[in-house]
């Protein structure tokens, strides 16, 4: 696993240097140097992510494979920073300010991150559902000879797709129409049945009052860069850990459909005038802008494949709507191109969704493990500092 490989070499370097340096003053300088190295690494890794192309389907910005890269970066950073924290933390420091407050706060943030991982896993199921609907549309649209039958079939699937993508959209008029016209029973003279399924089954599997936006907001509380004499050493490290965790969770939520994202903040506490945060800030601004733009119109998520799917879907709905056998040649050619693109998107999803789900799960496991290690650390501290009877 990339994380641990990096960790072992990184920590290996640190511990060798530690042994070379003198105890008292030396160790503090060592801490600062280690922190600098770590910050540079963070900066470099996020810079790589920032430079992803916007339109190449394979590795585009915010595509499935990009998000996988993001999570890999997170796992590496997490492993290193946690290693540094556990090595550098001793009982004396933990029981004093500011660590006595900061460490329990990390634990709390980790719990929120765990819930976000679960919500994202649930959201990925919804994305999968969209994939399935799109595949029906592709199948129909690729049918030869293409006629009104397949056109209606495709349209039905595409309309369901649009509805599914706007599941968490309270404001969506599409949603409203569907809800009004659908009822459970067949009686009562219901004229307009929605084309596909009924949306109770697409409800979120998360707790009723759970809100992705609120989780992120709560996670950002008290994430402030330490000042003054605390500005180097462990409090700084803790700040970086928090920042990265909040940032990654935030990106996940913008990209993948999650319950209740209304009012999601687009302002994370990323310090502006600091060298190593440039790439992070760049990513944050880019994604934040996209979010603001799309939020008004309502959308499923910034995931590249979903966005593509939506655009193509809308266009193909129009095509199928206006289609009359035998159809116009140039329109048909245009549609065929789009169908091919949609098929490609489906293929990317088919390839990448399951690995992404597994990676999310790995992040979950890692967070649990780290939380346990920090809890153990706290317990040991309590043990050594309480009076022996």
């Amino acid at each position: 696993m990339t994380g641990t490989d990096n960790q072992s070499s990184f920590l290996g370097r640190i511990s060798i240097r530690r042994n070379q340096v003198n105890a008292m003053d030396g160790s503090h300088e060592q801490e600062i140097e280690d922190l600098d190295v770590f910050q540079k690494q963070v900066s470099d890794r996020f810079a790589d992510l920032l430079s992803a192309p916007d339109d190449s389907p394979a590795d585009a910005f915010l595509s499935i494979s990009w998000i996988r890269k993001l999570l890999d970066v997170f796992l590496s950073c997490e492993a290193e920073s946690k290693g540094m924290l556990l090595m550098g933390c001793d009982a004396a420091q933990i029981s004093k300010s500011p660590l006595d407050r900061l460490i329990p706060e990390i634990l709390d943030r980790v719990v929120k991150a765990l819930d976000i991982c679960n919500a994202v896993a649930n959201g990925l199921e919804l994305v999968r559902h969209c994939q399935r609907l799109a595949e029906i549309a592709v199948l129909a649209l690729e049918q030869k000879p293409f006629g009104e039958g397949p056109a209606r079939r495709a349209k039905k699937a595409l309309v369901s797709l649009m509805l599914a993508m706007h599941l968490d959209d309270k404001e969506s008029s599409v949603q409203k129409t569907t809800e009004r016209s659908w009822s459970f029973g067949r009686r009562g003279g219901n004229k307009d049945r929605p084309p596909f399924g009924h949306y109770k089954s697409l409800s979120w599997q998360v707790a009723k009052n759970w809100s992705a936006a609120k989780q992120i907001h709560a996670m950002t509380m008290n994430v402030v860069p330490p000042r003054g004499p605390e500005a180097s050493g462990l409090p700084s490290l803790v700040f970086i850990m928090n920042l990265i965790m909040v940032f990654v969770m935030w990106v996940l939520i913008t990209a993948i459909p999650c319950q209740e994202r209304n009012g999601l903040t687009t302002h994370l506490p990323i310090p502006k005038n600091v060298n190593w945060t440039q790439s992070l800030a760049g990513l944050h601004d880019k994604i934040g802008d996209e979010w603001k733009k799309k939020e008004k119109k309502g959308m499923a998520g910034l995931l590249f494949e979903l966005q593509k799917m939506e655009k193509l879907g809308q266009s193909l709905i129009e095509f199928t709507d206006s289609f009359q056998y035998p159809g116009e040649k140039d329109k048909a050619e245009e549609a065929a191109k789009q169908v091919a693109e949609l098929a490609e998107v489906c293929r990317r999803m088919e390839e990448g969704l399951v690995p992404l789900q597994m990676l999310t799960r790995e992040v979950f496991h890692r967070l649990v493990k780290s939380r346990n290690e920090i809890l153990d650390l706290l317990d040991q501290t309590a043990k050594s500092s309480s009076p022996v009877v």
Binding site: V111, K112, L114, D115, N118, A121, N122, E125, R132, L133, E135, I136, L139, Q143, P145, F146, G147, E148, G149, P150, R152, R153, K156, A157, F184, R186, G189, N190, K191, R193, F196, G197, H198, K200, S201, L202, S203, Q205, V206, A207, K208, W210, Y325, P326, Q357, M358, R361, H365, V368, R371, L375, D379, A382, K383, S386, P387, V388, V389
Partner: protein, 626 residues
């Protein structure tokens, strides 16, 4: 539009089939929207299915005839047939959905609950209906020292029907199933498999959601669970265990059977896909709760519920493997195994945490009267419960306790010599270690008594209690072993002896012979003043000891008796003999009553006051002598 000439084609057949299909096109006719074919009557349904078959036949014929007739005409016809097929498929999809929905309610109560069970009372029914109610069954004692000894929860499982093994219910009547089969086959052979799976999954998932609500399965986030009080969580865990058994063994297995029934003729991949489409989400939702519990912060009171959860999941594992046996359901099997191992880790961690907590337990206020410390009670009750969970814990606890080393010179941790404990399971070693640590802590606490005698009494009481508790539980006794039990017994006897020495040596010192006789002569040379001093001192000391130690407590009756007898056996004969030898000397002088205050009987009676835990007055003692 005429179809091309084809010896196999029955034009009339095709046309009438097409008519039927078009008649039921719900986008075209009011009547078609109002009614459902499969609810109308069998004849209509059969007609429709035959019509679909006819159209499908003509499609395959039309594509064959591509090669023999003009391509354009063939394409036209094929397109038209495709259009008709699409209309038919859309209709069949609606019918399919409708039949499913008609028969997709939550599992009936009597499939889930056993009405003949005595524990199916209004209150437990209420508990299961009400998602949000915090269960008030359990008294809420947050105090670490009040242990809930409610480990006999197994009786609660009788509320649900016997869920000890997989039980597949028939979720739909046979007629509905054959209708669904008929529709599914045709949809699949027309290439509409995906739509079929989507519809199936969405309707059945909704039914499962309703069943979940009935079973009281909640959607709680990990954050929610961290914030809940443990007592509330305990009842949720209990409920979850019962519900999980029903879900895996009845609900999910029945869904699987339903898929197999409906998609019988079309191969296992498809019924697998439908099954996963239906249950994957709910299964994950179910397991998320157990996972959240396994992640929660460790504290001693959680051990037994976590073990319950672990055991329940362990028990369910083979059934989980059986129900989720396909490749696509691997993630569910994996998650269940992960949760199981986390629960085991949690149990181990809690035990370790418990041991540290005993060591660190810092209360310094000495227990009045030297009686049994609440810590002792708590710990002994706790490990009695642990011995009840012996079966599970023996499997889980695999490493020895981390003890201090005899050679480390570390005064803050006791050590334990493993060589003497050959052949014991790790669990037994942990239990012994717990007792070692408890005693170590108690030793420390005893030092806070200002009176050394009381300190010894305290140790005696507490170690005796430990011995009694061990003897009282066969499992515990078997694990602790008689060797160590003997050691403990010796310890409290030693404490009793130390107590006696500390208190009574000086009292009995007053009754010694030496120093009373004037040098040289034996028969008549007794120093009267020394004798008077002796009597006075003895009286004062005895009164003091009596007054003080009446308020001390030895809760165990037998132990109390034994100690009193032991003291009496030393005291009474000594006093009797002293009185016998020297009373005449006092009585021949002035105010003998100032010196000989008590008779032997007085002292014997006074003995009965000792260690009762009640204060007595000095007058009390005196009055008897009158």
């Amino acid at each position: 539009m005429e179809l091309p000439e084809n010896p196999n084609k029955d034009n009339n057949g095709y046309e009438s089939a097409e008519k039927i299909i078009l008649r039921w096109d719900s986008t075209a006719s009011e009547e078609a929207r109002e009614k459902m074919i499969f609810e109308t009557d069998r004849h209509e349904a059969d007609l429709y299915l035959h019509a679909v078959d006819e159209i499908q036949r003509s499609l395959s014929n039309a594509s064959i005839s591509n090669t023999t007739t003009a391509a354009a005409v063939a394409v036209d016809d094929q397109t038209k047939v495709n259009s008709t097929i699409q209309i038919a498929m859309a209709r069949l999809e609606d019918e399919f959905r409708n039949i499913l929905m008609t028969h997709s309610s939550a599992l009936e109560a009597d499939s889930l609950f056993d009405p003949s069970s005595s524990s199916f009372s209004a209150s437990s029914h209420h508990e299961l209906e009400d998602d949000d109610a915090v269960n008030n069954e359990d008294s809420s004692h947050g105090d670490l020292l009040q242990l809930q000894l409610q480990h006999c929860e197994s009786s609660d499982s009788s509320t649900f029907r016997s869920t000890s093994s997989i039980r597949e219910l028939d979720l739909m009547p046979g007629e509905a199933i054959s209708d669904l089969q008929a529709i599914a086959t045709r949809m699949i052979s027309s290439g509409y498999l995906r739509e079929c799976i989507q519809v199936y999954g969405s309707v059945r998932k909704s039914a499962i959601d309703s069943s979940f609500r009935k079973l009281g399965i909640e959607k709680l986030s990990i954050g929610d669970i961290q914030r809940l009080e443990w007592e509330a969580l305990e009842s949720k865990i209990r409920r979850w265990i019962r519900a999980a058994k029903v879900c895996i063994r009845i609900l999910f297995s029945s869904e699987k059977k339903l898929c197999e029934q409906i998609f019988e003729c079309v191969g296992t991949d498809i019924d697998d896909a439908c099954f996963m489409e239906t249950v994957k989400g709910p299964a994950i939702q179910l397991f998320n709760f157990a996972e959240a519990i396994s992640i929660s912060r460790r504290s001693p009171e959680k051990l037994f519920k976590i073990l319950d959860l672990h055991d329940a999941l362990m028990d369910l594992l083979p059934d989980i493997e059986a129900v989720f046996d396909s490749k696509s359901s691997e993630s569910i099997r994996v998650q269940a195994a992960e949760i199981l191992s986390r629960l085991a880790e949690a149990a181990r961690g809690i035990l370790s945490e418990f041991e540290s907590a005993i060591l660190r337990e810092p209360s310094r206020v000495p227990v009045p009267g030297g009686t049994i410390h609440p810590l002792t009670r708590y710990v002994m009750n706790y490990i009695s419960l642990i011995s009840d969970y012996k079966q599970t814990l023996i499997e889980l606890i695999m490493s020895k306790p981390s003890t201090g080393s005899r050679y480390s010179g570390d005064q803050s941790t006791p050590d334990m010599e493993f060589a003497e404990l050959e052949g014991k399971t790790p669990l037994a070693l942990h239990l012994i270690w717990i007792i070692v640590v408890l005693q170590f802590n108690l030793e420390g606490k005893s030092k806070h008594y200002r009176d050394a005698s009381l300190a010894h009494l305290f140790i005696m009481n507490n170690v005796h209690y430990i011995v009694q508790k061990v003897k009282g539980s066969p499992e515990l006794r078997e694990m602790i072993g008689d060797d160590y039990l003997r050691k403990l017994t010796g310890k409290f006897r030693q404490a009793a002896t130390s107590y006696q020495r500390a208190t009574w040596v000086s009292v009995l010192y007053c009754l010694r012979d030496e120093g009373l006789h004037v040098s040289g002569s034996f028969s008549s040379g007794v120093s009267k003043s020394a004798l008077r001093e002796r009597f006075k001192t003895f009286n004062a000391m005895f009164e003091e000891v009596h007054r003080t130690q009446a308020t001390w407590l030895i809760p165990d009756t037998q132990l109390r008796e034994e100690l009193r007898i032991s003291i009496s056996e030393k005291c009474i004969p000594a006093y009797r003999s002293f009185l016998g030898r020297f009373r005449s000397h006092i009585e021949s002088g002035r105010h003998p009553e100032n010196y000989i205050k008590y008779s032997v009987e007085d002292l014997e009676t006074a003995m009965l006051d000792f260690f009762e835990g009640y204060p007595v007055s000095h007058q009390h003692l005196r009055r008897r002598s009158q």
